[in-house]
């Protein structure tokens, strides 16, 4: 394949208290795919993302973003953590949270200015949250909070987007809105990697998929490898999913 490799993971092993949660993962994610990472609870899906982003330190292996270590490529990467990972009672507004997406390009000490505010407002507009810009974040619904997180990633104007369960606890409208934005990102040549739970929607939303359960089971185009065989290997005995065409 002539496609460039956006993310390359080599022999990655991660452990919590000496118990491996990811074991010897090799993974190549081509540029421009919209990829789902699927697997049962405790399969290490979030851990994989966090290790790629340098949030967790692996006990072995390495990760590269466009052939360079992550530390050198931060500007190319945006991250949407799980919504439940932050305290939504934090005293701040929707706009302010989105502005945080600009902090990376600002670097240490420098403060966001009008330019960053403008970018944040544009991102809010894109996710349909402009009318809520001054609202305290605890006053937003779950779907709105997820949109704010997405806007914060968009404002980073990255090449690669990592999202940890962006559809968790959001309403159907928000889910469609989010997936449409993700598909637009792919159209613009970006690489999007999503930890995903709903197997039914994999063929509809994604063109690339990675099966993970502590070890990597399979990775590749959805149309080639999203089948009962891989699902069974990932989720256990005789796992069947009826895929509607």
């Amino acid at each position: 394949m002539a496609q460039k490799i956006a993310v390359k993971v080599d022999d990655l092993t991660v452990a919590y208290n000496y118990k491996p949660v990811l074991w010897d993962i090799d993974l190549e994610i081509p540029e421009g795919v919209l990829m789902a990472i699927v697997g049962p609870n405790g399969a290490g899906k979030s851990t994989l993302i966090k290790s790629i982003l340098g949030i967790l330190k692996p006990i072995a292996g390495s990760v590269s973003i466009y052939d360079k270590p992550y530390e050198k490529q931060r500007q190319l990467v945006a991250y949407v953590p799980q919504k439940g990972s932050v305290d939504w009672d934090f005293p701040t507004t929707a706009l302010d949270v989105v502005m945080m997406g600009t902090y990376g390009s600002l670097g240490w000490i420098k403060r966001p200015k009008q330019k960053e505010k403008k970018q944040a407002l544009e991102a809010l507009e894109k996710v349909g949250m402009l009318p809520f810009k001054n609202r305290q974040i605890s006053q937003l619904s779950g779907g709105q909070q997820q949109r704010i997180f997405l806007a914060r990633a968009l404002v980073q104007n990255a090449s690669i987007y990592f999202m940890d369960e962006p559809f968790q606890g959001v309403d159907a409208t928000t889910e469609i809105a989010i997936i449409n934005i993700l598909k637009e990102l792919r159209k613009a040549g970006k690489t999007v990697i999503v930890v995903h739970h709903d197997l039914q929607t994999v063929p509809e939303y994604f063109d690339w998929v990675t099966f993970l359960n502590v070890k990597k089971i399979a990775t590749g185009p959805v149309k080639d490898i999203f089948n009962d065989d891989n699902l069974t290997k990932t989720y256990g005995i005789n796992y069947k999913v009826s895929i509607q065409e």
């Binding site: 931060r74 990972s85 701040t92 403060r111 937003l140 619904s141 309403d171």
Partner: protein, 387 residues
Amino acid sequence: MMSSAQIEIQLIASLAAIACAIPGTFLVLRKMAMISDAISHSILPGIVIGFFITHDLNSPLLILLAAATGIITVILVEYIQKTGLVKEDTAIGLVFPALFSIGVILIAKNANDVHLDVDAVLLGELAFAPFDRFIISDIDLGPKSLWVIGSILIVTIGLLFAFFKELKVSTFDAGLAASLGFSPAIMHYGLMSIASVTTVGAFDAVGAILVVALMIAPAATAYLLTNNLKRMLLYAIGFGVFCAISGYWVAHWLDASIAGSITTMLGIIFLLVYLFAPNKGIIAVLYREKQQRTEVSLLTFLLHLKNHNEEEERHVNHLNEHINWQKVRSKTVLELALKNNMIVVDNNIVSLTEKGNDFTSQAIDYIITNEDAEIEHMKDDFFLFRG
């Protein structure tokens, strides 16, 4: 007319309050209030050892040594917690009494040799602070502890201005901060260092233990009043200074401990705000819950009207027993609906107005779809739909 000692005491207390409120705000937001309690106890051995070496409670070396004990506390707590054998609160409970007791034993063993009073360290003695002067070649530059706490405050404010955005993002979302390259560990230990240094520096003012009150109470009070981090910092500073000064005068009138009076004032202010804060206060919350109950009743009532065209179902008397409400409640709901022009009553038969009909449909749509955009304007009138 205030004496210069009185002014100096209030100045020291106020600067200590500001220096504590700044790290305190972030400790409260990080849900780490207990860590400040742990630090305040476990710096005792650091203070004692520092005092053996320097023989001066205001020596910078003593402050650094004691602050280092604070950091050791944090590291020990995290280490014990990481083993996964005990939870964080247990780890805190294990570490600080151990360090604290080492300090107590050190003082007891050497009580004859050095002049160091447990009470003075733990409870502070602000009244004596003006006697220990900072004198360079016969020029009196004011009380030493004023210089100590002033320097700590300047450093704290400098760091706050420089790293405000980093502190904010790492407190709100450590994962994002890490992915952006702002190491949460650096911010964490930076904050812990400032909290430790401030605790040591402020123990003259309120004592090593009551300093927890100056860190946590103003921030917790401010948290109830605002949804804006900068304002929370300013309010916390304001409450801290207010309590420092008013506490001093309470102590003056009652002839009581200054530290005790400041802490009492902090408690009183928190209680008042806890009761009367406009949005998050207990009274506001109870009032809002009552309103919500009424509004749910109103909606139930409107729905009933919408679902039934038969006149007997819409007769005032029938409604009473049908919806199974007490008379008072039915009356409140009926009046609320009338006041908002949602219903008309004709010959004791209740009907929905056009506005009432629209409102009910919108409300039902919202409840079913949970889509917020359409009912933004309804939110202004009714509590029910606010988060």
